[in-house]
Subunit: 252 residues, 2 copies
DNA sequence: CGACTTATTGATGCACTTCAAGCGACGTGG
DNA sequence: CCACGTCGCTTGAAGTGCATCAATAAGTCG
């Protein structure tokens, strides 16, 4: 059974057996972390890279008034802070949502890998750039989409990302997020998240029972929120020749 | 007269004379671009890195309903897409706000520089990570702050970033953004942006005349929106020992 | 079983959007 | 040179989408 990281990198570029062995060496020392535990906090100096092998985590900040803003979700196979060594200190927190299996990778191990395995190095780069692209899409999501499409879009993204690491069966996947988590992610109140989710259920797009989310009609929910996965830059995904829209034709 | 890039990198780590010369070689071939011109569009394959030497540009997407979402502002000294080669095609557009002096840097030049100048390589890394940190802060801004603080926060950030490249005198700087630009940046309507800006003027925090913005009371506007520049990771900036807030104490 | 968190639902209010109209600055062409 | 169109800013009026407050129900964990 291959771990989520190898599966994820493989979805970008085919890995050799040597590459795989090197990755296996990276993830030898895993540790189990409970739910709602901080892996690293704002103000601390980053020592290790955190890799999530199992479970869900997130990146977040807390504003002076106590408001929490979640900026990213981490799913199995995701690095939390791959290149963070460059910066002197963390400007945000990283905490678990559900119990997680985590690997703490020292900087030296990353350097050694990138020195010897160009394929992996390239794949790491790809990870970092995709993470940034996801962050951009979240900004678009919060800034530009109405709440119902906003939440649907997040669900489509999670579905796609989790599918790439084999965590989806029959369009169902583990969904440990509370409605408060979602509210703090989407810039909405928990009450409104509740009503929006019920709307998505009523439309027959999803079901959500016992922390398991099922997408009932993948095509319809993607159409519903205009989900295009191009920003995830997956190898096997193809979508129509969607031409870009420029400055000129701003209105419809 | 040193250009904005050298000045910016120097604000991170002191550069040697050799480093400076190498950077000067990078920015030899500049070109002038008008306002509201796309430098690169969604769907295109990235060929060159774009560096802004003078003027303002932005990163944006256009949603199916015609809504534009701006995801980043570029000021003098900023790379638009430093590491974008890794990805097959652009997932967003980059366009100018004002007329700009731009350098198109081919991938090879970047590779040569990073192969020979470790200081510059490290500084480039720092640029990329700070850009990402800024993006995160924008997400917090849109998701978590009320509109008045949201706009004030953007102005504080611009002030700080422009100061680092010598584009601020007497707390005044060029401000070519229209209120529609700001609206598409902040996830607000242009009407509300207008009223909020008038509020900031009425509070005596700013003036805005002939595309020049002046911050009348830097300390007060920073306090007004709880601006902390730690996410910009500037060398010379120091701020109090702001301890991080964690999961536990969520409410105030 | 009891304490606490999470989900749900209703009622109220206001912050924001939308629509609309007027105004000044600017550029272009007749 | 003036007429006209466009664009950005401003302001008013009206409607509503979302937050806030509150109270109950349903899980969940010790």
């Amino acid at each position: 059974m291959t771990h989520a990281l190898a599966q994820k990198l493989d979805s970008y570029e085919a890995l050799s057996d040597q590459d795989r062995w090197a990755l296996d060496g990276l993830v030898l020392r895993t540790r189990q972390v409970g739910a709602h535990v901080d892996l690293i906090r704002e103000g601390e100096a980053p020592e290790n890279v955190h890799l999530i092998l199992d479970g869900f985590a997130c990146r977040y900040k807390v504003l002076p008034n106590g408001q929490r803003q979640i900026m990213a979700y981490f799913v199995p196979g995701d690095f939390c802070d791959l290149n963070v060594f460059i910066l002197d200190e963390m400007d945000h927190n990283i905490g678990t949502i559900s119990p997680c299996r985590v690997v703490d990778i020292p900087r030296r191990s990353i350097d050694e890998i990138t020195a010897r395995y160009p394929n992996i190095t390239k794949a790491f780069w790809w990870c970092a750039l995709v993470d940034e692209a996801v962050l951009r899409e979240w900004l678009v999501n919060i800034g530009g989409r109405p709440p119902n499409q906003r939440i649907a879009h997040l669900l489509c993204e999670l579905h796609t990302r989790l599918e790439a690491v084999g965590c989806v069966t029959d369009n169902s996947f583990s969904f440990p997020f509370t409605q408060i988590d979602l509210a703090d992610t989407m810039g909405l109140s928990n009450v409104h998240v509740n009503r929006t989710i019920r709307e998505l259920k009523a439309l027959g797009l999803i079901t959500l029972k016992q922390r398991t989310l099922t997408i009932l009609d993948v095509d319809r929910i993607k159409a519903y929120c205009h989900f295009t996965p191009n920003y995830l830059h997956l190898r096997n995904t193809r979508w129509g020749d969607r031409r870009s829209v420029s400055w000129i034709n701003r209105e419809q």
